[in-house]
Symmetry: C2
Subunit: 225 residues, 2 copies
């Protein structure tokens, strides 16, 4: 492989900075409304304003920040209402993926899901939250892909990424891993039965934020604000 043909490895400084800033916003290092000062950031990342501005543009495009012309770029942390809306949307999109996947999923993918669930089970036994989180991501990604719709799968992935920091909070709820695990299994059962509506409902319930999960999320939001 020639040196110029490597793909992902961000050789562009602007891309690295965008990823770093995204992470900083995700982890709550910036409050809602904070102005992202170009000159300050340029100093901190030890680059000129040019790559900083490119990175900021990317944040604006992914709605992590808003730009007001000739004023600057401001961090945009979702409030409780928008968070609930995003989770509801995620639940509905997962339901759609599931409904389509129920009719289109391959046998090998079903086996993959079973394997992932066994790994999940191991993580529950070991109380390994990070491990569970990784396997959980694989589980959902597999369903997105098995929707047989690449565009839809990418959209689902994008939203999942956006919600990542909040999903992690969910798992800290006592006994949530075991319950999540059980829900995974009923999803696979519905998929195997080619039960479109059953899969959709199971996934919607699985992802939706309600009851205990809702109160947990709200409590955590308050500690952040």
């Amino acid at each position: 492989m020639q040196p110029g043909l490597r793909f992902g490895m961000d050789t562009r400084r602007a891309d690295q900075i965008a990823t770093a800033l995204e992470e900083l916003i995700f982890t709550g290092r910036f409050d809602d409304g904070d102005r992202l000062d170009e000159i300050r950031l340029a100093r901190e990342f030890d680059v000129s304003r040019t790559p900083i501005r490119e990175a900021l543009q990317r944040l604006v495009a992914s709605e992590l920040a808003v730009q007001i012309p000739r004023r600057g770029v401001f961090v945009r942390q979702p409030g409780p209402v928008e968070l609930i809306e995003m989770f509801e949307t995620m639940a509905e999109i997962e339901a759609v993926c599931g409904r389509l996947a129920a009719l289109r999923i391959s046998e090998t993918a079903l086996d993959d899901l079973d394997a992932i669930n066994r790994h999940c089970q191991d993580c529950v036994a070991k109380d390994d939250r990070d491990g569970y989180y990784r396997e959980n991501e694989k589980f959902h990604r597999t369903i997105y892909q098995q929707s047989g719709n690449g565009f839809l799968a990418r959209e689902a992935q994008r939203l999942q990424h956006r919600l990542k920091p909040y999903r992690r909070i969910q798992l800290r709820l006592r006994g949530r891993m075991a319950q999540s695990m059980a829900e995974h299994e009923s999803v696979v059962a519905a998929l195997r039965a080619a039960d479109a509506e059953g899969t959709a409902n199971a996934l919607r319930e699985h992802v939706a934020v309600q009851g205990e999960k809702f109160r947990h999320l709200m409590a955590h939001l308050k500690t952040l604000a």
Copy 2:
């Protein structure tokens, strides 16, 4: 109102250029894979490379183009498969909006929809495609908003905008306006009956590309390629 406080009016050259380029891609002025030459575009828009680069970044973010590091930005026209995928996704998202709206829509919004449909009917009578198109957009936007989920509504709007050029093609199908019109009315009926699944199904069918519509879209794609 002070001169500095106007909002939308793009005072930034980069934003204007981004919009212009988007339009050029939408209308098929560029082929898939065309490289967007910064220097050439800078000359054409009579501006330096800086705002051009910002505009290109925006195209990449909205997936109208792809960027290959140190190579350039290339136009990315969706092929037949991706188009079908995008329409399927649109149909499903509209179905979701409809299902939620059936339980949340206000009386006044229902009346608005009726009014819009009357305007649609006028356009059908006058064979006014542009007018119908505008009213049709209002119809769908109203349903997005009445889903009661602002985030979902914005996502739906974004996808609708992305599909705009192809949707217009659909309307040119003989008798399509009248049929679309009838479908609108059954959607409103289901909404008024608070029939969640009925609304979802009606909208999904309404938006989905199948049968005649599918062949029509394919035929048009071939003429473009």
